[in-house]
């Protein structure tokens, strides 16, 4: 009996090891090429599993498309994409960052995807001199930490927030705004920026991540008579919140930031409650970026359309691959290359200022609107 158990255990443990190693392995094809260093890799750093995995997967797919295209053009000197799945958790990110840093083949990181994990890993990447280009982390303070290695290919919340505030004030003409945030680095940062422009005349509240019942918040919004509600946070809570607001017959326009720009928002809210919700994003509608990205992406992903940050991730990968193509094979050369990069990408002109932000004049913010169960591009918010 006992022996039987032991054997069973061994089988399970063996299977688990196999599965784990299968997850860790990536398609690695190293081919020696004339004099060039050809075992280089780019790291993807962000959530591939966990609550907000959708955003991470979009980013991975966008980057992978560019890398696949590069590898097709350079069959003798391929670049691999190594996946570091942080689950979007600032607690898990530091250990993974160490892993990425210790892997000498990794010459650049596309990510970290979220602001919280960027904050938790920035020091480590900076010390190791490993360049990161995030396609999605938008907390303004990230570029104020003195990290030399941090870059992002999109505007931050300091540009998204005022744009969202401007939209609420000028386009919606709302005067009584209720501002809610989820106390995360991202959500609170964005909500504060919106408050600066649009005010919070109707009131404010803070909810918790993973909360599902918002009755107290709903009661507050309802009794305030707000005509617009801004939510700084991610799509799971936003969906449930807007649903419960509509059930309580609150008619105020629901406005949220890029963390909500995901189909998961509509799944959680239901198409009826989500209808008319406005989502701002310092990202371009993928169908409106230059070049053939939209079609290429669909072809590479079985007809699935690119979603939020796919195009930005493509641009981030473009910068690194241009560096590899130019023979930058050490981390310090790559950092210099990225800092001096100045070329048009598919979303915008890609040029970083000294802090790692995209130059202010090139930042683009769009508003999107939920129409019959889909998030569609509305208009570019001109600042």
């Amino acid at each position: 009996m006992r022996r039987g158990y032991l054997r069973g255990f061994a089988v399970i443990a063996g299977a688990a090891t196999l599965i784990l190693s299968a997850c860790g392995g990536e398609e690695k094809t190293t081919t020696g090429g004339g004099g060039k260093k050809c075992d280089l890799a780019l790291g993807f750093f962000g959530a591939l599993t966990g609550d907000a995995a959708n955003l991470g997967i979009n980013i991975k797919n966008g980057a992978k498309l560019k890398i696949d295209q590069y590898n097709q053009a350079h069959p003798d000197c391929k670049v691999t994409l190594k996946l570091f799945d942080s689950e979007g958790s600032p607690d898990k990110a530091p250990a993974l960052a160490t892993q990425a840093i210790n892997d000498q083949s990794v010459i650049g990181i596309i990510g970290p995807a979220f602001s919280g994990e960027s904050n938790a890993t920035g020091d480590a990447f900076n010390e190791a001199g490993l360049t990161t280009i995030s396609a999605s982390a938008t907390n303004p303070t990230l570029t104020q930490q003195g990290w030399k290695t941090f870059h992002r290919v999109l505007g931050n919340d300091a540009s998204q927030g005022p744009a969202a505030g401007k939209y609420i004030k000028d386009t919606l003409k709302a005067t009584k705004v209720f501002v809610i945030d989820d106390a995360s680095d991202y959500g609170k940062g964005l909500a504060d920026e919106v408050t600066k422009v649009a005010g919070n005349a109707a009131g404010k509240d803070t909810v918790q991540q993973k909360q599902t019942d918002f009755s107290a918040t709903v009661a507050k919004v309802k009794s305030s008579g707000a005509d617009a509600v801004f939510y700084g946070g991610y799509y799971q809570e936003a969906g449930l919140l807007v649903k419960q607001l509509r059930e309580a017959a609150v008619k105020a326009t629901f406005v949220a930031g890029d963390g909500v720009k995901d189909q998961g928002f509509i799944t959680a809210a239901g198409a009826k409650a989500a209808e008319g919700a406005i989502v701002t994003c310092p990202c371009n509608p993928p169908e409106k970026v230059s070049g053939t990205f939209f079609e290429d992406y669909k072809k590479a992903n079985n007809g699935a359309e690119p979603a939020t940050y796919g195009a930005e991730a493509y641009d981030a990968a473009t910068i690194f691959l241009a560096g590899i193509d130019a023979g930058k094979t050490s981390r310090s050369d790559m950092l210099d290359f990225v800092n001096s990069y100045d070329a048009p990408g598919i979303t915008k002109q890609l040029k970083f200022d000294s802090t790692g932000e995209i130059e202010k004049a090139n930042v683009v913010v769009w508003s999107y609107i939920v129409k019959s169960g889909k998030i569609v591009a509305d208009q570019e918010i001109k600042q």
Partner: protein, 315 residues
């Protein structure tokens, strides 16, 4: 404070709605604790399985689309009952299977209490990850079976059919369970084992069967909670049970763990305290308020509001 006074009734009704769901889940913790002196930490996953059973019954078996529907009241009631039965069967079966796989072998070998705890946490993680792999890690939404309509006004609050449905069904289920434990033969067996397992066995009570029954009852209540949660919140996900489980356990302790009526009192009270707390100092303080309330109550009544009673002899 002003806000609380103006919205008192609305906060009360929504707090009671959520509290009823806490209370139904709390019953599972309380029943098992009353009989086995064991905290079944995998009970949150029993609830989670119920939410998926209800969801899949509606979307796969009946082919309803998620999101808004236009169906008659009669068919809505039919769907709710069908989903409820499916969730109760699934949760009940999960709870019994848990007892069989995770606890009974340990009990047979006389394992120390700590081992049960580890087994419970392991079973809980295994179940939730199983669903994460099967259903993915994204939220899935229920069809909107109940279109909230205001039935009547209570003070300044508009009470909807959905809220009435949730509170009434939760209370009815709990009264039914309470009566079952008090009056039926099987219920007498449960009370006997809770009081003194060895003596009960000597008197001819089949201990294993009573324990299995206890898990089954807890599972059935979790199944009801799962459907009500689906109506109220409208989505589920593999880790939906975690926070609710912690809250329900808190409710059980608050009311007096091992005490069925205590679970009801604790659940409703916790729902109310959370809502009032959110209103007075802000939603981000909701959990702080709830746990401070718990600590304060335990300071003055260490066994909870109604005390432990399932196993106490009654004359």
């Amino acid at each position: 404070m002003d806000f609380l006074i103006h919205n008192f009734w609305e906060l009360t009704v929504t707090g009671l709605t959520l509290g009823s769901i806490y209370a139904l889940i709390a019953l599972g913790y309380t029943l098992v604790y009353g009989v086995l002196r064991l905290i079944n930490f995998a009970h949150s996953e029993v609830f989670m399985v119920g939410t998926f059973a209800a969801l899949l019954t509606l979307t796969q078996v009946f082919g309803l689309p998620s999101g808004s529907l236009s169906i008659s009241t009669i068919s809505a009631i039919g769907y709710i009952i069908a989903a409820g039965v499916a969730a109760m069967i699934a949760s009940g079966a999960t709870a019994m299977a848990l007892e069989r796989v995770a606890y009974r072998p340990l009990r047979r070998r006389g394992a120390p209490t700590l081992v049960f705890l580890i087994s419970a946490i392991g079973a809980s993680l295994a179940l939730s990850e199983l669903f994460a792999v099967w259903r993915g890690r994204n939220q899935e939404s229920f069809p909107d079976l109940v279109n909230p309509v205001t039935l009547f006004n209570l003070g300044d609050a508009e009470v909807t059919n959905e809220q009435v449905l949730i509170i009434v069904s939760a209370v009815v289920m709990m009264v039914a369970l309470d009566q079952f434990i008090r009056r039926s033969r099987l219920g007498r067996g449960v009370r006997a084992v809770a009081q003194d397992p060895d003596t009960a066995a000597l008197m001819g009570v089949n201990k294993d069967r009573v324990i299995a029954l206890t898990f089954l009852l807890g599972g059935l209540m979790a199944g009801v909670a799962a459907v009500l949660y689906g109506l109220r919140i409208g989505t589920t996900v593999y880790n939906v049970g975690f926070i609710l489980g912690v809250k329900a356990f808190t409710a059980a302790v608050l009311g007096g763990i091992g005490n069925l009526r205590g679970a009801l009192v604790g659940g409703l009270l916790l729902g109310l305290v959370e809502n009032y707390g959110s209103a007075i100092i802000g939603t981000q303080w909701k959990d702080v308020v709830a746990y401070v309330a718990l600590i304060v109550i335990l300071m003055f009544r260490p066994t909870g509001i109604l005390g432990e009673s399932l196993g106490r002899a009654r004359v």
